[in-house]
C-alpha cells in the first residue's frame, strides 16, 4: 500500500465536493483504525478492490451532511432513499477516479450502499484500515481504506 494509492481514493472523494460546491473538502490527519474505533456513520458505501491489491474502501457520512448535499442539488425530499443515493454517488466518483488512476491491474466494484451505523462491518484482518477524515462545510465524513498487497503466485506474477 503506497501513499499514492491512498491518495487516489482521497482525491476521488475531494473531487466530488469540488465539483458540486465552491467550498472544497478538507482532508484530516489519517490514522489507523483500532478495534475499538467506531468509524461508521449513518450512510456508508463500500467499494471492493481486487487485482494488484485487494480489500475494500468505505465512505461513510452522517445524515446531516448528506442532507446538506441533497439541498445543494435542490432536493426537497431528504428521505433515507435520497441520502443513500447521494452517498452512492460520492462512492461512484471515488470508484470512477480509482478506475482511472489505478490502471488496468485493478478491478473495482460498483459501490454498495449500507444504511445505518453499520458497526458490524467486516474489515479484513490481514490489512490495516486507514481512516481518513474528510470535512466539508463543517460536516465530517470518513474514508476508510483497507487494502493489502496481492500475493500472486509465481505464474500469476509472470502473467501480470
Amino acid at each position: 500500500m503506497s501513499e499514492d494509492d491512498l491518495k487516489v481514493f482521497v482525491h476521488g472523494a475531494a473531487r466530488f465536493f469540488s465539483k458540486i460546491s465552491p467550498t472544497p473538502a478538507e482532508v484530516g490527519t489519517p490514522f489507523l483504525r483500532d478495534e475499538s474505533d467506531r468509524v461508521m456513520s449513518d450512510f456508508s458505501a463500500v467499494i471492493g478492490i481486487s487485482g494488484n491489491q485487494r480489500g475494500c474502501v468505505y465512505y461513510t457520512a452522517p445524515r446531516d451532511m448528506v442532507q446538506a448535499l441533497a439541498e445543494i442539488f435542490g432536493e426537497s425530499d431528504l428521505s433515507d432513499d435520497i441520502c443513500a443515493d447521494f452517498v452512492g454517488e460520492i462512492a461512484n466518483t471515488i470508484s470512477g477516479n480509482a478506475r482511472l488512476e489505478l490502471g488496468p491491474g485493478f478491478l473495482i466494484s460498483v459501490p454498495v450502499v449500507i444504511r445505518g451505523r453499520a458497526e458490524d462491518v467486516h474489515f479484513p484482518d490481514d490489512a490495516p484500515a486507514f481512516v481518513i477524515p474528510i470535512s466539508w462545510t463543517g460536516h465530517r465524513s470518513t474514508l476508510i481504506i483497507c487494502l493489502s498487497d496481492q500475493p500472486h503466485s509465481r505464474r500469476m506474477a509472470a502473467a501480470q
Partner: protein
C-alpha cells in the same frame, strides 16, 4: 461403434441410353405424326385438284358431244327453214371456246375454268400417252374448230352448218373418246399420285406406331428399372433405418454417459467457437464456476471481462486470438497460457468481491486443417492457491522471523518485553495524536497544530528507535530511521495538509506490523524458554553474569539492568563512532520503581547516551589534545530526593553545551528574537535544546542530529511524569542533566498506557 452402409448404385450408361432412346422416339413420333398430317393434307389438296382436273377433262368430252348435238339441231333448224336459236349458236361458240381453252391448257399449261366457272390453273400434261392423245385430239378438234369458228349469233350458211355437223358426227365421238381417255389418263395419274402419298402416309403412321411402341417399351423398361431401384432403395433404406436405430441407441447411450459426465465432473468443460461463443454442451460445474446459468451462446470474453482485471482481460483476449490462429503452433501457444492460474472476482451483493482462483487449460480442435473449436477445461483452484499462498507467506514469515530471531537472540527477554510494550505504547500514542483529527487548512494556527502532531509522532518514533538501539535491534533502528526521514521531509514543508500524513500513517502501519511480528516471535520464544530455560538470550544472561561477577569481586551489589543496558548501548555506539567511553553508575537503582517509570527513566537515559556519544563526547585524539583522558566517562548517579520522588543525574565529560551555537540556532528557528538572544543568559539559552527539532548538528545520522532526542527527554520527564529537568554545563568540560520525577502511586502518568 462405427456403421458403414452402401447406397445402391446403377449403371449410369444404361439410364442415359434409355433416356436418349426415349427422347429420340418421342422426337421421331412427333415427326411422324406431323408428317402424317402433312401428307394427309397434301392428299386432300391433290385429290381436290385432280377431281377438278378430271372433271374438266370429262367436260371436254361432254363439250364435244354438246357441240355435235347443237350442230345437228342447227342443221335441222336450217334444213327446216327455221332460224336456229341464237342460244344454241352461242352455246356452240362458248363450248368451242371452252373446249379450245381447256385443250390448250392441257397441252401447254394455262388457265381455264372449272365446272363451277372458277378459274383453274392447269399444268401441261406430260405423260407420253397423254401428250399423244392430246395431239390426236387437237388434230381431230382443229378442223371442227375452224368450221364452227364462223358461227355467230346470225345463222351460218347451211353448207357450213352441214359441213360442221357432218364433221362433228363423223369425228365427234372420236374426239369425245379421246378426251374421255385423257380424262381417264389424268384420273389414273392422280390416283397413282394419291397412292404414293397414301403409302408415305401409311409409312409415317407405321413409324409413329413403332415410336409409340418403342416409347412404351422404354417407359416400361424405366418403370421396371425404377421399381427395381425403389426395391433396392427400400432395402437400403430399411438397412439404413436399422443402422440408424442402432446408431441412435448407441448415441443415446453415449449421450447419457456424456450427460452423466457433464453433470458430475468437477471441472468446467466447454467448447468455444472462433467467435468465442460457448457451445451448447458444457459441464454443469461451469455454471457453478462462472456463477451464471444458461451459458450456451454466451461470449466467453464477455464473461471474463466481468471477472478479470482490465489487464488480465486484455491478455486473455489476445491469448484466445492466438488459440484460433492456425499460424501459431499449438504447443508454443499452450506453453504461454496466461490463464493457467488466474484470480477472478465476482461482485458480492453485500459489497466488494468474492475472489476465486481458476485454472484454464486449452486444446485446439482441428477439422480439415481448420481450427473449428477450442476445448477448455476450467478448474477452481482456489483451495490449492490459497494453500500455496499460506505456505509462501508462512515461509516468508519464517524467514523474517528467523532474521528477527538472529537480531534478538542477544537480548534479555525481559528487556525485549519492555521494548515491545514500550513500542506498542508509543505507536498507540502516535495514532492517538493523529486521531485528534485536526483538519488542515490554510490558517497558520491549524498548520501549527498539524506540526505539533507531527512532533508527537517524531518523538514516539525516536523513542522506539532509541530503545531499539539500546537492545541493538538493528532492524527496528533502520525502520524507525526511515520513518523519521519521512517525518523530517514533512517538517520541512511550508504548508501541511492532512493528506500529507498518509506517508506517516503508512510508516506507522508498517512499524506496527513489525512490532506485532516481534511480539509473535517473542511469544514463541517464551514457549521454547519454558522447555529450555536459559537457552535464549545467552548474551543478555552473559552480560548480567559478567556484571554480577564484577560486582561480587568488588563487593558491590548487582548493577541495575538499566545501567547494564546503557553501558552496552554506549559501548556499541562508541565502537560505531570510533570513540572511547565508559559508563559509571553511582547509587543509581531503578529496581524499586514501577515498570512505567523504570521504562521512562531508561528512555531518557537512552536519548541522553545517544546524544552524548553523537555530540558531546569527543574522539580520543581530540580529548588528549584538550588535555583530557582519552576515555570519556558517563556518570549516572542516583540523587537524594524528596519522598515520593526519584532523582538522578546524567553527566558526560565531553565538550559540553555551546551557548553561542544554541543561540545562533534559536535565532535561525525563530525561537529567539534578536534582542532576546543578546539578553538571554546561558541557562535561558540552554532550555532551547529541548525544543522539538532543535539541533546544532549540521547533518543527521541514524544516531542523532534530527533534534528529537532532547524533545523526547523533556516530553517524558515533564509532560508525561510532571518532573523537572536541570542542566549545567561547562563548555569543553562537561554537561550534566539532573532529573526529578514524582513517583505515581495510583495511576500511570499521562500518555503512558
Amino acid at each position: 461403434m462405427r456403421y458403414v452402409s452402401q447406397a445402391p448404385r446403377e449403371a449410369p450408361s444404361s439410364q442415359v441410353w434409355l433416356t436418349i432412346g426415349l427422347v429420340a422416339c418421342v422426337l421421331l413420333f412427333t415427326g411422324a405424326l406431323f408428317g402424317t398430317v402433312l401428307v394427309n393434307a397434301a392428299i386432300t389438296v391433290r385429290s381436290q385438284a385432280n377431281i377438278r382436273l378430271v372433271s374438266v377433262a370429262a367436260r371436254q368430252s361432254e363439250l364435244v358431244q354438246r357441240i355435235s348435238k347443237d350442230l345437228l339441231q342447227i342443221q335441222l333448224a336450217e334444213h327446216t327453214n327455221q332460224a336456229p336459236l341464237p342460244s344454241t349458236l352461242g352455246d356452240v361458240s362458248d363450248a368451242a371456246a371452252t373446249f379450245d381453252q381447256t385443250l390448250k391448257a392441257f397441252m401447254n399449261g394455262g388457265s381455264t375454268t372449272d365446272l363451277a366457272g372458277a378459274a383453274l390453273t392447269v399444268a401441261p400434261l406430260k405423260g407420253d400417252a397423254q401428250v399423244a392423245a392430246l395431239a390426236q385430239a387437237q388434230n381431230a378438234w382443229s378442223p371442227l374448230r375452224q368450221k364452227i369458228a364462223s358461227f355467230t349469233l346470225v345463222a351460218p350458211p347451211v353448207a357450213t352448218v352441214d359441213d360442221a355437223a357432218s364433221y362433228a358426227v363423223a369425228n365427234g365421238a372420236q374426239i369425245s373418246n379421246m378426251m374421255s381417255d385423257i380424262a381417264l389418263s389424268i384420273e389414273r395419274t392422280a390416283t397413282q399420285g394419291a397412292k404414293d402419298l397414301t403409302f408415305i402416309r401409311n409409312l409415317l403412321i407405321g413409324l409413329a406406331v413403332l415410336c409409340v411402341v418403342a416409347i412404351v417399351g422404354i417407359l416400361f423398361t424405366r418403370v421396371t428399372e425404377g421399381q427395381n431401384q425403389i426395391r433396392v432403395y427400400a432395402s437400403s433404406l430399411e438397412l439404413r433405418n436399422d443402422e440408424l436405430a442402432e446408431s441412435t441407441t448407441a448415441l443415446a447411450h453415449a449421450k447419457r454417459g456424456t450427460d452423466l459426465i457433464m453433470e458430475t465432473v468437477r471441472q468446467g468443460l466447454l467448447l468455444i467457437r472462433p467467435d468465442y461463443r460457448i457451445e451448447a454442451q458444457y459441464s454443469r460445474e461451469l455454471e457453478e464456476i462462472f456463477r451464471m446459468k444458461d451459458l450456451a451462446g454466451h461470449n466467453l470474453l464477455n464473461i471474463l471481462q466481468r471477472i478479470l482485471t482490465e489487464r488480465m482481460y486484455n491478455t486473455s483476449r489476445d491469448y484466445l486470438g492466438l488459440l484460433f490462429d492456425a499460424k501459431k503452433k499449438e504447443r508454443a501457444v499452450l506453453r504461454v497460457n496466461p490463464l493457467d492460474e488466474v484470480e477472478v472476482n465476482f461482485p458480492n451483493p453485500e459489497g466488494g468481491f468474492i475472489s476465486k482462483y481458476l485454472g484454464f487449460s486449452f486444446r485446439r480442435i482441428v477439422q480439415s486443417g481448420e481450427i473449428t473449436r477450442v476445448f477448455i477445461a476450467v478448474t477452481d483452484v482456489t483451495g490449492r492457491v490459497q494453500l500455496e499462498r499460506q505456505l509462501r507467506e508462512s515461509e516468508h514469515k519464517k524467514e523474517r522471523q528467523f532474521e528477527l530471531l538472529l537480531g534478538i537472540l542477544h537480548v534479555d527477554p525481559r528487556m525485549l518485553d519492555e521494548f515491545i510494550a514500550g513500542a506498542q505504547t508509543r505507536t498507540r500514542e502516535m495514532n492517538d495524536a493523529l486521531k485528534a483529527q485536526d483538519f488542515a487548512a490554510a490558517s497558520a494556527g491549524q498548520i501549527e497544530k498539524l506540526r505539533q502532531r507531527l512532533d508527537i509522532v517524531f518523538r514516539c518514533v525516536h523513542n522506539i528507535k532509541g530503545n531499539a538501539a539500546l537492545l541493538n535491534l538493528e532492524y527496528f533502528q533502520k525502520t524507525c530511521d526511515t520513518f523519521e526521514q519521512k517525518i523530517v521531509e514533512l517538517r520541512n514543508r511550508p504548508i501541511l495538509g492532512g493528506d500529507d500524513f498518509l506517508s506517516i500513517v503508512i510508516a506507522e502501519s508498517d512499524l506496527r506490523a513489525d512490532i506485532a511480528e516481534l511480539q509473535d516471535l517473542r511469544e514463541k520464544l517464551t514457549g521454547i524458554q519454558r522447555v529450555s530455560p536459559g537457552a535464549i538470550s545467552a548474551f543478555g544472561a552473559h552480560v548480567r553474569a559478567a556484571d554480577g561477577a564484577g560486582a561480587r569481586e568488588s563487593g558491590a551489589r548487582m548493577p541495575d539492568e538499566v545501567v547494564v543496558a546503557i553501558r552496552a548501548l554506549a559501548q556499541s555506539l562508541a565502537i560505531k563512532l570510533e570513540k572511547d567511553v565508559r559508563v559509571v553508575d553511582d547509587g543509581f537503582d531503578t529496581r524499586a520503581l514501577g515498570p512505567e517509570m523504570r521504562r521512562a527513566v531508561r528512555d531518557v537515559l537512552v536519548q541522553l547516551t545517544r546524544n552524548s556519544l553523537a555530540h558531546g563526547v569527543e574522539t580520543a585524539q581530540l580529548r588528549e589534545t584538550a588535555g583530557k583522558p582519552a576515555q570519556a566517562t558517563i556518570l549516572i548517579r542516583g540523587l537524594a530526593s524528596a519522598p515520593n520522588a526519584f532523582a538522578f543525574s546524567f553527566r558526560d565529560d565531553g565538550r559540553g553545551l555551546d551557548p553561542a551555537a544554541i543561540r545562533k540556532r534559536a535565532l535561525e528557528l525563530g525561537l529567539l528574537a534578536g534582542d532576546e538572544a543578546v539578553k538571554a543568559d546561558e541557562s535561558q539559552v540552554a532550555r532551547y535544546i529541548f525544543a522539538p527539532g532543535f539541533t546544532t548538528s549540521n547533518g543527521a545520522t541514524t544516531d542523532a542530529g534530527r533534534g528529537v532526542g532532547m524533545d523526547v527527554v523533556k516530553h517524558v520527564i515533564v509532560d508525561e511524569w510532571g518532573g523537572e529537568i536541570g542542566v549545567s554545563s561547562d563548555p569543553g568540560q562537561y554537561c550534566e542533566f539532573t532529573f526529578s520525577l514524582p513517583i505515581a502511586t495510583t495511576a500511570a502518568p499521562a500518555g503512558v498506557a
